[in-house]
Amino acid sequence: MRQVSKRVNPWTWCGLLVAALLVATLAPVSGAPAAPSPGGVLKVAIVAQPSILDPTKSISGISRVVLENVVDRLVRLDEKLKIQPELAVSWRTVSPTEYVFTLRRGVKFHDGTDFNARAVKAYFDHILDRRRNSPRLSNFTQVRDVHAVDDYTVRFLLSAPFAPFLTQLSEWGYMISATQLARSPETLAEKPAGTGPYRIDRWVRDDHVRLVRHRDYWEKGLPYLDEIVFQVIPEGTVRVTNLRTGQVHAADSIPARDVQTMKDDPKFKWTVVSSPGYRSFYLNTAAAPFGDRRLRQAFAHAVDREVLVKTVAFGFGVPAYGPIAPSHWAYARHFQPYKGSDPQKARALLAEAGRPNGFPFSVKMANNPEELRLVQAVQEQLRQVGMDLRIDAGEYVAKRSEVLRGAYDAFYAGFLGGPDPDSNTYDSFHSRGSFNWVKYNSPEVDRLLDAARTELVQEKRRQLYRLVEEILARDSPMIFIKFPYYETDGHVVLASVQDLVPIPQQRLLLKQVWLRK
């Protein structure tokens, strides 16, 4: 034996070792990815029930969690927020104001009727009809006309070029049965007939929504599960107990302290995506004290966002310096104009503005313990430079009403954002934007935002948004704090749940999900 081993070349040993390692990695061992096994009931805990499931009326994020699995759109967003085909197999931009979509054939709605160009037209005619007061109207103000060219070709005509058009379609262009829309629109509230992988079987209010597999789903072999039950469990601790005892398979909005322990438990998987929304202080730029730009800049300099995210938010989030989020293609990672805090600069700005000893101001906000902790930490940071932040917390809707009336100094709130940078900027900072609560008015930003909306080349848009962010940092109408990725976009799931890919903004797409037996 010794002689034999002596004759073996050292390179051969190395080769054998590499081969052994390769075999070891490629060999199917337990725990390695297995083929999906169909069947089973997936139970998902949700914080509140959907208010309404009618896609032409729903506005809540929870409704979207359910609808995502029931209703398809012409195009969809993937986990990287990129546009992918769904009910449209392809599309072309004939001109900046004309899009032509070729539709998928052989697709059936849950009520058995066919999906075709007429259904697309019927949906858009419905939501664009002003008398119906659909909130979808504001999502598609640029759509002038929808024309069914033939059974499987649709032409959209826009009144002006609109770069986020495809993203808007993926967000709000839910395709529902034209028959249901025409004959029984009142049934849409509880059971919209879409073409999605699951159809709504039963909705017991305040308790659960049950979805069952759509047998005629267009994507062959999918979905895997027989049923999905969205169980309403409002209390955080109770959601965790339901997960721990296996009563539900997945839950979101897990209290931070439980996430810490569950992350290390092999029984659970923690999935997280970065949300395109942000948390920020809205400053009323139309009135004293924040009518003075120097005082807003002083605020921006006095806050240390990294410390806030690390300590108060338990690291669940990314410090924010502008409105464009890490999940956006236009996000500039190194754009951190107010990184760290600079109390000296803040004091200098206060002195320059004639307030060397600081000034008092009130912050309106929702009475929410986690948010309060964060604002209290900011309060402490501002105190270092003499700014006296007074908290005015109360019922969210009531506080927001005061903000909408302009009766406020500052307002701390979250913004859900949208998948296109336009959703995070236009309405909030354009002088004609519908949510310009800070009353910001900059002709320069208006011009840039208009240009970014009509420019179709992504690289050019990126540059435009970069300029917008720079001006916003200079003018500081809003003090951005963080891009959260904890509250709504993080899920804890049992290890038996396979292939769950969370998509930002509560898009919990479950058609590819299966349960390991």
Binding site: V204, R205, E235
Partner: protein, 314 residues
């Protein structure tokens, strides 16, 4: 007796009318504008104004009240702004859970309170009395939400004998229904038991001091006989009244327990809709809760009159 019933019912009508007005006025006390609450993050001011007009919210207050009253008296409480669900239907659907919860909690309470109260009264000053009184004090001062979390930790997470939360209608699966209802019923029942056992104790002690009890004892009746046959019956009148009132209150739902145990009930319906400023729903729920109280109070008044002639003719 008829005159007495007439008087009570005559009082009931103006009270109900006043109630209807208060409930209507309530929407102006809910913070925030309902249409704004619904749409502010999705739509501009133009759409908000249009929806307000559609809901008739732009009309003068008195016209809105007359309109609402007309419909409410015909049993039409309108529709939810958010979900478009008819308010009456929403109430009807949440009723069984709340009713069952109230009933089971009362049963739990009576089952604990009666023996505890009787033992406490009969063994006055002894250790059994002290234990019962301390337990009652604990029951009163222990917050029910905390008890709920403790029960969930012990029975759902630790022993794994009960599901942590949820609901199944009794008609669908009675056994599963009871498994879901037992923890909420115990949570609510404990507080009620504390009140009732103290009530039973003091009421029984009072009765045991009466002359007719001494007579019964003098006749040579056994202690047990005296307590169960003569004393308890009379002592229970105020206890039954309190239990009835408590039951009426529970029929209005319990916000905290329903939220913790994820029970679809009246309390959660109320709180969710207050948060959303969905005023037709809030009006409907409050009206229901108040009417339930009024009806129970009326029934108690009538029952009292029947039980105790002094009240009828007083």
């Amino acid at each position: 007796m008829l005159r007495y019933i007439g008087q009570r019912v005559a009082l009931f009508i103006p009270t109900t009318l006043l109630l209807l007005f208060l409930v209507f006025a309530l929407i102006y006390l809910i913070p925030g504008d309902p249409v704004e609450a619904m749409l502010a993050e999705q739509a501009g001011p133009e759409l908000i104004a249009r929806v307000r007009a559609d809901l008739g919210l732009d009309q003068p207050l008195h016209l809105q009240f007359v309109h609402w009253l007309g419909k409410a008296l015909r049993g039409n409480l309108g529709r939810s702004i958010r979900s478009e669900e008819p308010v009456g239907q929403a109430l009807a659907k949440r009723q069984p859970g709340t009713r069952e919860q109230a009933l089971l909690a009362t049963l739990v309470a009576v089952a604990i309170a009666l023996p505890a109260g009787v033992i406490s009264a009969v063994r006055r000053g002894q250790w059994a009395d002290s234990i019962s009184r301390i337990a009652a004090l604990l029951g009163l001062s222990f917050p029910s939400f905390f008890l709920a979390i403790v029960l969930i930790y012990v029975f759902a997470l630790g022993l794994r004998v009960l599901p942590p939360s949820g609901y199944r209608p009794f008609t669908e699966d009675p056994l599963q229904n009871l498994r879901f209802m037992i923890m909420p019923a115990v949570c609510l029942g404990m507080v009620m038991a504390a009140i009732l056992s103290r009530m039973t104790r003091s009421s029984l002690l009072e009765v045991l001091g009466e002359d007719y009890i001494r007579t019964a004892r003098a006749k040579g009746l056994s202690g047990r006989m005296v307590i169960y046959k003569h004393a308890l019956k009379n002592a229970l009148i105020p206890v039954v009244t309190i239990a009835g009132i408590q039951f009426g209150a529970l029929l209005g739902g319990t916000v905290i327990i329903e939220t913790i145990f994820a029970l679809p009930g009246i309390g959660r319906l109320l709180i969710d809709n207050i948060r959303a400023s969905d005023f037709p729903m809030v009006q409907g729920v409050v009206l229901f809760m108040a009417l339930a109280r009024l009806v129970i109070n009326l029934a108690t008044d009538l029952l009292y009159g029947w039980l105790d002639p002094r009240i009828r003719y007083g």
